[in-house]
Symmetry: C2
Subunit: 319 residues, 2 copies
Amino acid sequence: MPRLTAGVDLGGTKIQTVLLRDQQVVGSARMLTPQTGADAVIAAIVDSVKASIAAAGARTAGLAAIGVGSPGTIDAEAGSVGHSPNVPGFEGDPVLVGPAISRALGGVEVKLDNDVRVAVLGEWKRGAGRPYHDLLGVFVGTGVGGGLVLGGELREGMGAAGEIGHTIVKDGGRRCGCGRRGCVEAYAGRARIEATARSWDRRGRPTKLFDVMRKRGRDRVTSGAIAEALQRRDEVTIQLVDDAVWALGLALANAQNLLDLEAIIVGGGLGDRLGQPFVQRVERRASRYLHVPERPPRFLPTELGDLSGAVGAAVLAGG
Amino acid sequence: MPRLTAGVDLGGTKIQTVLLRDQQVVGSARMLTPQTGADAVIAAIVDSVKASIAAAGARTAGLAAIGVGSPGTIDAEAGSVGHSPNVPGFEGDPVLVGPAISRALGGVEVKLDNDVRVAVLGEWKRGAGRPYHDLLGVFVGTGVGGGLVLGGELREGMGAAGEIGHTIVKDGGRRCGCGRRGCVEAYAGRARIEATARSWDRRGRPTKLFDVMRKRGRDRVTSGAIAEALQRRDEVTIQLVDDAVWALGLALANAQNLLDLEAIIVGGGLGDRLGQPFVQRVERRASRYLHVPERPPRFLPTELGDLSGAVGAAVLAGG
């Protein structure tokens, strides 16, 4: 009987789960992340694993292992997650997620790792990064995360490698969520794009971005709203996306100059939503700054889209 | 009988050679690089190897292997060097340096690699980098070169990894020798520091730097001249060194944010000359930009100083 492996991508707003059999996604499930605490989140993860098994027409008894990708501080050995400000119940001291999920599912093995690292693992092993052994994955979403594969190994460093989002592209530039100024994330992360648009709006530089947001019934400027405002040729949005392209282009060129990579994969909520044209613009911008422009890396969109993390989590668990 | 290994650091102005026995430098020799062509340079390398053997009171017959670090494009297999604009006779098509040296020294094995890579190898295996398996070596001289050790391996990438000197720290900033603007090298490389001082001087911002240079009987602003002008509190030199500290601090912090290294070693002609106080200033500057400031890399001066390259070349040859 072929081995079944589940992968869970735990986020602040949603839980995405896939079920792999023979390296193929045979079932998946997505649900909103409960906002009522750690126990509810753990129960939701268990439900989502069961739902993805049901979706595949398989049985829980056949499940070999579960991988979980989570934001925050991960202790892979203990199976705990802590200091994850966006996941309700996980903001503080470590919670033993792994053992709890295992108990609820008959003692199945559970592996944990950082959400961005598992997303890079997913794209590397099952997505756009398959042909390469030296690559950088950049996930442009609410923030900007990244992870490196170097010499065919996912790089750990002392635990914090791959923070391309906090490359400073302009000393003294736009304020970032991390408290410093001029990070890539301050220009390309969805949350800072929204904050900058609000600030410009207040200072008399109007934008259609918030009309689009309201029309979509949202109270946040989603990636979809940014894409729509861009299509409507809203000047502020055009400027903000230009700035994001510039910041990503510069930071990725600097990473390339230092690391001489084979490929750079651009994904994440905003990256996936703006898609290939956005990735091409980033590539063109980066090429201006490359020290060896005649041998650039390939710039690629993700292949797995918003499943990169869940698939990577399943790969982590041996799927 | 213990094995003898020679290491040669070939530069545009000097050839530095060391002889290693039991991993210790037991002899060394230094000479000016002939300016009359490839044959003269090869003969000088052979002489310098013989001189270092003589200095150690050893005999040529005991020599097991020679390593050579050179600027330019290296073909390690063929033993050739080409496209090295600063070494007379090596500016154009590849010259078979390795076989020529080997013939002149009784068929001894000769290994070649890039000058910056062997310098990193020297500091990693025999110098300040010994305790680490993840480090960046930065050599601040006429230009700014760098090399990476990641996971206990000297990183090659597609052949051009480690170009920290061409990290862009200010888009549209100072012109660099590479043709782009705002590279680290445009702020911290000796040649661009000199060019900037000349340009400011012409535009009415006087400096003692050129008086110091002439007093020293030189027609170039050497690292020694920069150090002396700094000591004399020359305002332009203070500003230029501040700028170099800023550029290095920002670029090294960005490298750290991406790679999560254990150590950063700062050397090169200017880095070694300005020494520990300069390295500490770079460290303090970098710490402002670190994403995980509570776990910074160690910032270290070189241990081997201007022998990093020659010792590393000997290590390359098995010494």
